[in-house]
Symmetry: C2
């Protein structure tokens, strides 16, 4: 049985969701991968807890975090095999997550990223650090949760030349646009999205298109080896939309969507965030409030369109999909059976 | 540089397409995976050719096959690292492909299957043989080409409990149904599908639902560890549809689709092929003549729907997606960088 120790940095709703699913799947990990998976450390912004034998989740009250067990050094003290970074997104400095991920990769710990900040701030640097230490940098949780994005580009379409990627990647904006087309006002729709847990704490991050811009930025750099910076990405938002716009689109039989685009013209990779309208019979027109979607154009596999739901449990599940990929790769690398 | 020798059994349109794409991608394989990929053997039903240094594709006339270089023993003589099986589908006996795949797995050669016969005939036996010899049995090319199916279930949704799979998996039936809804007669639509290269040589295989039944059979056994036989799968076809049916569906605003279904009720896996009708606003209603689609319901990731195009180049590309997954796994298994 192989021991897998996991540390979680950022212990809000999503971090706790990750921990809960891991606990629920421990038996599955044992049976499928002969893996003894334990959470050996968690930390938030002010407190945390480390137990190298695995944290005790038996108490109904949950974990009692120790003030100060956080910040630089937490990752070294936890000495996990895998770090799952679920802190807040700060794409201007990378935030604490950037430090955690660098600490992890440098010491030979795989990093699974849910927060986008560090990846937007310095994907290339982190990817190079991962390569140098022969560990993985996984990003599914940061690039649209349950919707396959990076794995669609790198795995399902392996071998294809990818010509274009277009995606409805932000749950909030899709929900707000859908609600506005149904007659709700912009402000009310944003509040509703926050109630439903789609919106980031600061809704401007979503409605001004930053969330989608971050995701296409990460995808372009990770899947196409581009070196785009956030400021290289022209960005529409949905906060300027007027009732007159809504009426006009309805009259034209069009559906508005905020989409992230990546265009790959052999070597020249461009990304953008665009407010586009689609006719009712376009697949994207049917991607309603609670869904996300991505369309990929390739050379030999034509076009693939994927639609999926959004939501917090899906984000945690996406990070654990990344973890399961580490387990699968590990099993494939087992010595030849005799 | 790692040497990868490939043998191709079944050298019709798809086998030749596979060979062509491999030749086009040799430089890519070198750059991305440090892999020197060569085709060392090909064979059809009556002739073949083996060159352990790699076959010479420089002549415009193509390869001159040697009569008799085929059948049992070909795989041992080719001594490839990877077998790509692209022969005709015989799901009653497994056909020659079954022998080729068994020979390959037994000698430690990975097997990538495009033809469905051997997988339907004895998936469990072949999977066990692959495990015992620590090689991979890959099936993307046999389960709906460019449309992600087995990799969607095993990779994109890794960790999820999969509750139900429903798919439009056969290009021919989808094309014929679409054409009939547009006013074309059944027989003419089948001939048109054959002209376009969707239909199997014997159209009954498609229109009687066998093709879809084979695909859900393989997927149920591969992704859910079921032990279903083809005769366990209730099967509708589209050959009994009357003009009156078409008129009624139009009047009801419904769209007919032949779908394969897998239902997984914890331990109890059932599969079926059903002629179902969908309202115009259902995603499947928009999956037109040239497309396929699959919808998967999960526990923590909700529902994912994927739509893709069909066609011969997509089938060859799917087999080479499987090959690329072998290369990716191999790179991941490289010793730690220093």
């Amino acid at each position: 049985m192989t021991r897998w120790n996991i540390a979680i940095t950022g212990f809000g709703a999503i971090g706790k969701g990750v921990a809960q699913i891991i606990q629920e799947r421990r038996q599955r990990y044992r049976e499928l991968y002969d893996a003894d998976v334990r959470i050996v450390g968690v930390c938030g912004s002010r407190a945390g807890l480390i137990d190298h034998n695995g944290l005790d989740w038996s108490s109904d009250a949950g974990l009692t975090l120790r003030p100060g067990e956080t910040g630089p050094g937490f990752v070294q003290r936890a000495q996990a095999d895998v770090l799952i970074e679920a802190g807040p997104t700060d794409f201007e400095t990378g935030g604490p997550g950037y430090t955690y991920i660098k600490e992890a990769l440098s010491q030979g710990t795989h990093a699974i990223c849910i927060s986008k900040g560090a990846l937007v701030f310095d994907y290339a640097g982190l990817a190079e650090l991962a390569r140098a230490n022969a560990v993985q940098l996984k990003i599914s949780g940061a690039t649209s949760a349950a919707l396959p994005t990076i794995d669609l580009l790198q795995y399902n379409l392996a071998g294809c030349q990818i010509l274009e990627v277009e995606g409805i990647l932000t749950g909030t904006t899709n929900f707000v646009l859908d609600s506005m087309m149904s007659g709700m006002g912009f402000a009310d729709a944003v509040i509703e999205a926050q109630h439903l847990g789609y919106a980031e704490p600061d809704p401007r991050f979503d409605v001004e298109g930053w969330d989608t811009a971050c995701k296409v930025n990460i995808l372009a750099n990770a899947a196409f080896g581009a070196c785009l910076k956030l400021q290289d990405i022209p960005r529409d938002g949905i906060d300027q939309i007027t009732p007159a716009d809504i009426q006009r689109w309805k009259a034209e039989g069009k559906v508005p969507k905020l989409v992230g685009r990546i265009q790959n013209e052999t070597g020249n990779v461009r990304a953008s965030v665009e407010l586009k309208t689609y006719p009712f019979d376009h697949p994207f027109a049917r991607v309603d409030a609670t869904m996300k979607a991505v369309r990929v154009a390739t050379d030999v596999m034509g076009e693939i369109t994927v639609m999926g739901v959004t939501g917090p449990s899906a984000t945690a599940a996406a990070a654990l999909k990344d973890f399961e990929h580490l387990l699968i790769a590990d099993v494939h690398c087992m010595p030849r059976a005799t």
